[in-house]
Symmetry: C2
Subunit: 362 residues, 2 copies
C-alpha cells in the first residue's frame, strides 16, 4: 500500500533517461543540456560590453507593453514554448477590472505576438466547458512525452483562494483541465519537464490567502497528475541574505543539465515601502530534486530598469518561462516586470551553471 | 490516466456498505447509526433537569486536570477509542516547555487514564524510528477494516510548519508513520471511518503558519493514504453568524447515520480580546460528503464553565473524539478545554440529528 509505483513506470522512466543520455548533445565547459533541442531562431542579443552580471536585459524591452488588447490592461508573468516551427504562449492578462485571466497567443519569433481576445476556455475530459474561475494567473507551460501541460495559480472553486490548476493539450486548441493539484493555499506550481523515478514532480510554494509574508520552495510527487503526495522541502527563504528573506518561489520550468536541474526562482525582500522581487538560480540533484547542490548567494537580476521599478507593482521581476538553444546554451528568460510588462533577459546555461557554483556558499 | 480507481476497490467498498446496511441496527426517531457497536460501559450521565441545550457537560469535569504526568503540564485536544474491552487514547500533551507531543494512554472506563511518560515513537515501514517532529498535536483516532489510524497536526520536517501527519497501528504498540498527507499549512485532518466510493476521505482545514485568522472545511481523497487529490470545499466560515465568522474546522471522526454523516466541528469567533472556540454540528451526504445537508445555525456548546473560560488559552472548547453507544445513540464528546484540560460533554446522536435539522437555515 505504501509504494504503489509500478515496475512499468520505473522501466519507462529509466528508458527515457537512457534515451536522453544517448542522444546527441553539445558539451559546454560547464556541463551538458538534456531534453531540449536546438532553437537557432529564438530571440537573442549578445552580452553588452561592460556587463558584469550573469544575465542582461533585452535592449528592446519591454516586449509586451501596456494595453496589449482592447480588453486587457497588462500582460506579464507569462509562459512561451516552441511549437510548430514558431512559438505559442499562455499569457497572464489582467483585464481592466484587475482580474487576471489566461490568454493564448502565437508568434513566429517569440517577440511579436498575436493574442486571442477571449481567455482560454478549459474543458473537462468529455469536452464540456469548465466553469470559469474568478482568477487564473502566472502560467507555466511544458511538454512531456508529446503532451503539453499548463500549470497556473487557479482559484479554488467558490473560495477566491489560490491553488495550482493543471491542464493538458496536444494542439493548443483544446485545453483539458485536470483536478487542482493541491488544497489552498499555493501560488506557484512548476512541473519538471520529465518524470523522475516514474513520477511527475512539481515545485511549488505554499502560501496564505493574501500578500503572503512568507514562502519556501517545496516539491510534490504524483503518478497521475490527480493525486499528489510525498511532499518535500527543497529550500527555505533567507539562507542567502536579505534579498530573499521574505519568500522564494519556483520560476520557469527547470532545465536539465549534467550538473543538475538549473532552476531559476524568484526571491523577495521586504522594505518599509513594499516587496522587492529579484531572481536567482539553484542547481538541484537530477535524481532527487529535493536535494540542493548549489544555490546562489545573491540575485542574478534585481529591479533596476524603468519597466521593472515602475508599474502597478513597482520593483518586481518575476520569471515564468525560458527558451533555450541546446546547441549553444543560449537562454532567453521571459519575466513579468512590475506586474505590468513582459520583458526579456538573456544569458547562457553554461555560464549560469558556473556562476551558480561560483556564488554558492554551500 | 484521469481515473485510476480499480474495480476491486469499488467492489470492496460496495461490499462493505452492503454489509453495513444488512447489519443489525437500532432505529431511533431520527435515523439509524452505521458502523458502530453497542458500548454500554462508556461514560455517561443523564441530561440534567432544566438543561435547554442539545448537549450537557459532565458534572465531574475536567476529566484530565493540569500536570497529568511529571513531564507534562497540560493534556487536551485528545482522542479516545474502544479497544480490547476497555479504551485507549492518543493524547496531546504539552510539556513544560510548551511543546506538544502525542502520548499513548489506556483506561478501563475512558475516565481514569494511565499515560505513557514518553511520547509515542513512530517507526517507518521497516520498523526504524522516525525522526522526532518538533511538535505533534490534536490527534484523531479511528478504525477502518481492523486497522487503527491516527491523524494529527504534524510539523513538516525541518520547517516548524503544520501539516497533517498519519500513522497506522494494529496493536497500539507499534505505530507506523506514513507520509504527511499535505503540503503546509493544515492543522485539522479527520478521516471518515470507512472508504467512500473506494477511497479514503479526509476532512481538513487549510491554514497559515500562525494563529490563522481564517479557516474553512475542505475534504480530500486518497486511494492509498499517500497521494491525495480531488480536493473539495465542504463549508465556509461565517454562514451561520458571528459565532463562526473567523474559522471552522472538523472535530471528531464523523458518525455515519441514515440521515448523513454527523460531523461535530469547532467554530471560532473573534473579539477584541481574543478568539472564542465553540462547537456545533453539520450533516453531510453519505455518498458525497462534500455536500452539506443540514448545518446548525448556532453553537451547541460555547465556553461557559471555569475550565473552559480560564486556562492557557481562555474560552476554548475543542472537540477531538466521541464515544457512541450504537444501541441507544448515547454520545460522549471529548473536548479540549482552554488548551489546558480535557472535558466531557454528553448528548444523543438522534437528538443531535433532530437538533441540527431543526436549527438549519439551509
Amino acid at each position: 500500500m505504501l509504494n504503489s509505483e509500478t515496475n512499468e513506470e520505473r522501466a519507462s522512466a529509466e528508458k527515457k533517461i537512457a534515451a536522453q543520455k544517448s542522444a546527441p548533445k553539445t558539451e559546454g565547459s560547464n556541463g551538458r543540456i538534456f531534453g531540449l533541442s536546438a532553437l537557432p531562431n529564438m530571440p537573442w542579443e549578445d552580452k553588452p560590453a561592460g556587463c558584469t552580471r550573469p544575465i542582461w536585459r533585452y535592449s528592446a524591452n519591454p516586449v509586451i507593453d501596456r494595453n496589449p488588447l482592447p480588453n486587457v490592461a497588462r500582460a506579464f508573468n507569462s509562459a512561451v514554448i516552441p511549437y510548430g516551427g514558431g512559438y505559442v504562449g499562455v499569457f497572464r492578462m489582467d483585464h481592466h477590472n484587475c482580474m487576471p485571466h489566461l490568454h493564448f497567443g502565437t508568434s513566429p519569433d517569440a517577440l511579436n505576438w498575436t493574442f486571442n481576445e477571449e481567455p482560454i476556455q478549459f474543458v473537462d475530459e468529455d469536452g464540456r466547458p469548465m466553469p470559469k474561475a474568478e482568477f487564473t494567473y502566472d502560467p507555466r507551460v511544458l511538454e512531456i512525452d508529446g503532451i503539453y501541460y499548463i500549470s497556473w495559480c487557479n482559484e479554488f472553486p467558490g473560495t477566491m483562494s489560490p491553488t495550482i490548476g493543471l491542464a493538458m493539450t496536444e494542439d493548443f486548441e483544446t485545453f483539458v483541465q485536470l483536478e487542482n493539484a493541491f488544497l489552498p493555499f499555493n501560488r506557484n506550481g512548476v512541473l519538471f519537464p520529465r518524470k523522475i523515478n516514474g513520477e511527475f514532480v512539481m515545485l511549488n510554494r505554499p502560501s496564505d490567502n493574501g500578500h503572503t509574508p512568507f514562502g519556501d520552495i517545496y516539491l510534490s510527487h504524483s503518478k497521475d497528475l490527480i493525486y499528489w503526495g510525498k511532499h518535500r522541502l527543497v529550500m527555505k527563504r533567507g539562507a542567502g541574505g536579505w534579498w530573499e528573506n521574505t519568500k522564494i518561489g519556483p520560476g520557469p520550468v527547470p532545465i536539465e543539465t549534467s550538473e543538475g536541474w538549473l532552476v531559476i526562482y524568484h526571491a523577495v525582500s521586504n522594505t518599509c515601502n513594499g516587496l522587492i522581487y529579484s531572481m536567482s538560480t539553484v542547481l538541484l540533484d537530477r535524481d532527487d530534486p529535493a536535494k540542493v547542490l548549489y544555490r546562489a548567494n545573491q540575485p542574478m537580476l534585481s529591479p533596476e530598469a524603468p519597466y521593472e521599478t515602475t508599474g502597478f507593482t513597482p520593483n518586481v521581476i518575476f520569471p515564468c518561462a525560458t527558451l533555450c538553444d541546446a546547441d549553444t546554451g543560449r537562454l532567453a528568460i521571459y519575466c513579468g516586470a512590475a506586474d505590468t510588462f513582459t520583458s526579456l533577459a538573456f544569458g547562457n546555461v553554461y555560464d549560469l551553471i558556473a556562476w551558480t557554483k561560483a556564488n554558492s556558499d554551500g
